[in-house]
Symmetry: C2
Subunit: 345 residues, 2 copies
């Protein structure tokens, strides 16, 4: 496996959550994973949110006007759709995540559905398009970053327009002054630096919807849209690391393993921990919010020698993490079980 | 150039400052570069700062006791000593920074020198050792991360023990509850998660001082300690990027270029901007603090076609950025001029 300079440019500006941050219920700002598709844009001083398209009345809202509306806070676990991409063979060239493109934020803002109802959607409305301020070229096409949701998803009541993260004003890199947050979905849906919401009478066929973020088994496969997060569990690496290899070194004796598990489809039903290929059930704590991760713990009697630790989750809809990755053209949704090399001394 | 999985593991957990963040005088939390040598450690609830070694009276200070002391705030530009490492050939395997391991924080806390004077250093004191809570293995040696300063540097009055960043409590990943900040020095000196300060009667010869962070021209060279930041300037990439290659696309016509420049040795004297190899002088603004970066601006008349933009700084001590990197064993201090490929349309 060899990473190119193009991929390294992405890997040094974007960042994952160091896995020791699995210890926090809510990920501190700066540790939550971050993928900036184009640039963190400069936001005009006269920024307004525009709601238009197939609506009865267009809305134009300032930051103050948004803050005057009823507000909600939701603890939401968010994962990049490309998480695990660097583990796929043959390799896919894009942001090379290993397993750490994850984080849980307490997002504060206004609910999306009441805003859409206020604008009044016309007959024939089928989708809602969200356009950000960040611009660039992708697949040869110049574009603002934009993604749509079906009307049903947009009105489901989970989505919010966030202007706060962890009780503080939204940081620039996470989409200030306003971002869409769609709980349960991979992060590409939660458009940052939101400027424009448009109700559409036909499905959006822009680049990030029709070309990117589709699960395609080969180049001829039209594929299916990437949407909700598949179940995944991650383990807080026990013991201490070697700086360069990140291999873990653990003292022999009782060792508390812990981690988090989540699924965008249904609550977590179970987490299993594997020690050298033998699986046993972990204790799973209730999730702090409907679309937040669940903490899990496991008692391990660490015997001297080299070991392979692993974990895998299953959700209440019966989805389970596979042991091997499922290769696909875009390198999306690789939720294969995490595996961790540990030396017990 | 090909990056290994070991390097990628570091690149996805650590992160640089996306260069569009050069627009901010003070880098927002989460955009400042971050290198966590081992892990972000769990901090014990009964954390105390211990000051001991060759002192008249040992001090043990709680967070509250530190906050009761006179506080200072300093705007400090900090760069990783390994910034630019990935540009060196033959390649050096470690955290593969390209140019973005930089940031400017407004650090708040207590000055180091009065604390050392209060402890009262004994005759024969030569160095002060700073030990963090993070532990791991580096070069085959298990260790807590620790670095020393000469007594003169420690007493020079610039160094502070910071418990705030940008007016907020110090985030976990930047060293909470307390970190050393040594203005003007590369970041390895500013020990995070500080637990212990010890006054020594001989130079510290631990791994991070005697082996790592030395500028060695070859394996037989004993080398010199890496210390103060060499001058460097960086340009905010103009126009819009291509997602994958990060190449920039700019509209033809007048184009405002801007960036920042800094040196840990002396104030910035001048910045030059290169357009296809022709150098001209940029306008440099005064730095907001003694060890903070200076903003620079340059008016460029962008003509259609492909161009190579570059910038280089010179400090008042006569140090200047080279055009080519200076290779060394550890891949430190590569302050070669930044170069940026731009297509004008």
């Amino acid at each position: 496996m060899a990473i190119s300079m193009d991929e390294l440019q992405l890997a040094t500006r974007n960042h994952g959550m160091p896995l020791e941050a699995l210890r926090y219920d809510v990920t501190p700002v700066g540790l939550h994973y971050l993928l900036v598709h184009f640039d963190v844009p400069a936001v005009p001083e006269d920024w307004r949110l525009h709601v238009g398209g197939l609506v009865s009345r267009e809305l134009t809202l300032s930051q103050d006007e948004l803050r005057e509306r009823p507000s909600v806070r939701r603890i939401v676990t968010m994962e990049c759709a490309g998480n695990g991409r660097a583990r796929l063979e043959p390799r896919i060239v894009s942001q090379p995540w290993i397993a750490e493109a994850i984080g849980t934020g307490e997002w504060g803002g206004v609910e999306l559905a009441p805003l859409l109802r206020e604008a009044g959607m016309g007959d024939g409305a089928v989708e809602v398009l969200f356009t950000g301020l960040d611009r660039g070229i992708d697949g040869g096409v110049e574009q603002a970053y934009e993604r749509s949701l079906s009307l049903d998803e947009a009105l489901a009541g989970d989505a919010l327009l966030a202007y706060e993260l962890n009780g503080e004003p939204l940081p620039p890199q996470h989409g200030a002054p306003l971002r869409l947050v769609v709980p349960g979905w991979y992060g590409m849906t939660s458009v940052k630096w939101l400027e424009r919401i448009r109700v559409l009478d036909r499905p959006f066929d822009g680049y990030q919807q029709a070309h990117a973020y589709r699960f395609r088994r080969d180049e001829d496969d039209e594929g299916e849209p990437v949407a909700r997060m598949r179940p995944r569990s991650l383990m807080l690496p026990p013991g201490v690391p070697d700086f360069m290899t990140r291999r873990r070194f653990v003292e022999a004796g009782p060792c508390s393993l812990e981690g988090r598990a989540w699924s965008g489809v249904a609550p977590i039903e179970s987490v299993e921990v594997g020690v050298d290929g033998e699986w046993a059930t972990a204790r799973v704590e209730p999730a702090p919010d409907r679309f937040a991760w669940s903490r899990w713990t496991f008692h391990w009697q660490a015997e001297p020698g080299d070991h392979e630790l692993a974990c895998r989750a299953r959700d209440e809809a019966g989805n389970e993490q596979p042991l091997e990755p499922e290769w696909n053209v875009g390198g999306y949704c690789n939720n294969a079980a995490q595996s961790l090399a540990v030396t017990v001394r």
